[in-house]
Symmetry: C2
């Protein structure tokens, strides 16, 4: 156990609440602030993408005994269901038998996590706007408006778990030697909805991540416990096949009829949802350092906001907690060293998952519709099954292993070079599982 | 002439004041705000690097008839004087006969520019802190402190010429779809001073940019009109040969005696200046867009802060004004189009000079001490003199031409590939100006 401190966490999202539970376990006083109302008391926003929990996230929950509690509200997803434009449906399994990611509704999970953190003894302060922080003294400044009266709240430590648009990071940004970047995608997203059947069952396979890959845009759907699916349409803001073009009901309906014909039956409120729900932005934020002495540290999206195409935003944030906790166990009360080692260890991995996530849009929206790409994945899986000691596909490294993201990225690039050569083999379509291909891969590996 | 507008410029630096003169010429009401006191009434800061004006800067001054006025306070510099550690001195001419950049004291130039802008009718408001801007209404918020009372100042247009740490850009950064990055170098700098001789003459050659290249650090000196030199020591903050190490007088003196033996006579106040003057940071800031509708635009360092190693911060800022003015002349009162075309035209060039400047540290601090590099430059100059239609060295493109920076960078990279091959020729030291080399370059060019 550490010497008890008075700790503030800004942000009651997934990472903030789980961190609160970890810090309570160390005996600290933990106050969690959020500028929004208690999510348990309000409707969900209509701008969410369903989450997928994979091994890194489960590991963080498991270490604190919450894995089973959360698994109850998740739905295992072991494959992609790829809806081609000609109504053909392909399945692509993610890993080995039994390996699955879990679809979770962000709102349902967040509510659950706040309950759990409250049970653990963390105190929550909702509708409390933190506008600034004094880094040297771990003092928060709270008030109704940015220009109005502020109250000082003094802590021993402050964690900024306040997401991509973090106010805590915003203060750090105005320090010398603080590197920071924000980059907005030309692509936005909109939430749509597949309701449950009247008997509460799912209208399409609930154990698949459904993708309608259409090149520069795509639709995806992930199951909820109540029989519904949360769908997300990703497309450019401007240009060909863009949000800008879908301005009226007729255009929208004909666009969906053309590109997503098999959704007609399952998205009954397309028009209403499309024009009611906001079109949201996607951004990548990077920064360094993540901590100020032994006083303030960033964690989760505030330190490394990424795009959602690998399903790793939450997993990476939870893994931050795992690593932070390792250093807490190692260095005890020396918060200076804990924060220094934490940021040094996490930064290259945060950068790697940012890169992997960026690349995965192209994989999901284009490559999954490409026969050649599916064949490549099939060969990798076949070879990996035969030689598990020699080959783990990139997706499995990222999702089903705890290997640091930066290593997974480097090895993935190396493996990809090999597969590029393999795919050049004449008649690869016929002899993809031949001895020749096997030997070729083995020779390229050494 | 445009329809007269009420325009605010935030920042009374070099770009802000020159822009004020241009806008006055168009008949606008121009108010220039600065959070600092009038530089004409205070001592200089002791953290400046001398400026060098080159063709792009002169062009902007020339177009408004101020070239001769400013040339009077500059000193032509036609070469590098490279001080090697063994006291050997090499000269490397920048361009052709008569081609020179001009050394200018930042303070002296800035004072002069404010005088000129006042004469042109711009109104200056010093010690007035602008904390925020409403982008949609071009309203500035001014007050004593960030958290205190603010006064609203309504304008038709606002220019953010408020430098690398721009408050105007800071507001833009909190908009969606605004890309932004700040990156601090591991390298800092400190101003030192070579005083004039008692008779007012310069102690070392005033028409040279003096460099003491020492690998990961360097000293440089640029002449002032009063016989003195402004020196700048660039070195890492930490590690071997760093500011961190030069903690006391004895270490500093022995460091300079070892690495810069020939400065002993000319920098008499080394110890005093070194410990009095601050160690300053170097940062690269990039962003996009630069403008908000027809209301607010960034210009100069606020849009593109770069490192000083190409001597182009001011030149790039002045060129912003040239380009902006071209679109003013073309599009008249259509400020929406003026701003849109201005940012589209300038962004790739700002990115290019940022990259060129970053690379030039290595050229100045390491390559200028490398015989092979100096030979390469000699070959380029020789070939360029023989075939001016076929080859202009990169430095000349950037500094003595008005070619867009982005083109200069691309052609420079192409030329560098050619020179890499040329430098591989056996006995290139002996036959550098042979027919063989000439024909080789010609063949590689086509």
């Amino acid at each position: 156990m550490q010497t008890p401190k008075k700790i503030a966490i800004v942000g009651s999202g997934l990472v903030g609440t789980l961190l609160a539970i970890y810090l309570k376990k160390q005996g600290h006083t933990v106050h969690v602030f959020d500028r929004s109302p208690d999510i348990r008391t309000v409707e969900f926003s209509g701008r969410s993408i369903n989450l997928v929990m994979s091994n890194r996230g489960w590991k963080t929950l498991q270490d604190i005994g919450l894995e089973h509690e959360i698994k109850k509200i998740g739905i295992p997803v072991d494959k992609r269901a790829i809806h081609l434009q000609d109504d053909k449906l392909n399945y692509q399994y993610y890993g080995k038998d039994g390996e699955a990611i879990f679809s979770l509704s962000r709102g349902v999970l967040n509510r659950k996590m706040i309950d759990l953190a409250e049970n653990a003894g963390a105190e929550f302060f909702f509708n409390r706007k933190i506008w600034d922080v004094s880094l040297a003294t771990a003092t928060l400044y709270e008030g109704e408006t940015e220009q109005g009266e502020w109250t000082e709240l003094k802590y021993d430590l402050v964690f900024g778990a306040d997401g991509a648009f973090s106010r805590i990071r915003h203060r750090m940004q105005r320090q010398s030697m603080f590197d920071y970047s924000q980059e907005f995608m030309k692509l936005g997203y909109k939430e749509l909805h597949i309701p449950a059947n009247t008997d509460g069952t799912h209208k399409i396979d609930k154990n698949s991540l459904h993708i309608w890959p259409r090149g520069n845009f795509m639709l995806m759907a992930l199951a909820n416990l109540d029989g519904s699916f949360t769908c997300t349409l990703f497309m450019p803001f401007e240009g060909e096949n863009s949000f800008e073009q879908l301005k009226d009901e007729a255009t929208l309906v004909s666009f969906f009829a053309n590109y997503f014909p098999d959704t007609k039956e399952v998205i009954p409120d397309l028009v209403k949802d499309f024009f009611k729900n906001p079109t949201s932005y996607l951004a990548i934020m990077k920064c360094y350092p993540w901590a100020y002495q032994d006083k303030v540290a960033l964690i989760g999206d505030s330190a490394h906001a990424i795009v959602p195409f690998y399903g790793h935003g939450m997993n990476a944030g939870f893994e931050d907690i795992t690593i932070l906790n390792e250093f807490i166990l190692k260095f005890g009360d020396d918060w200076n060293t804990i924060f220094a080692e934490y940021q040094k260890s996490r930064k290259p991995n945060a950068d790697a998952i940012a890169e992997l996530s960026r690349r995965n849009f192209v994989e999901m929206s284009s490559k999954t519709a490409d026969e050649k790409f599916l064949l490549q994945k099939k060969i990798e899986k076949w070879f990996s099954d035969k030689h598990p000691d020699k080959w783990m596909p990139l997706y499995s490294r990222v999702t089903f292993s705890l290997q640091p993201y930066s290593e997974a990225l480097a090895i993935g690039d190396f493996q990809n070079k090999i597969m590029e050569e393999v795919m050049q083999i004449e008649n690869i379509e016929q002899k993809w599982n031949s001895n020749e291909v096997e030997q070729k891969i083995i020779s390229l590996l050494t």
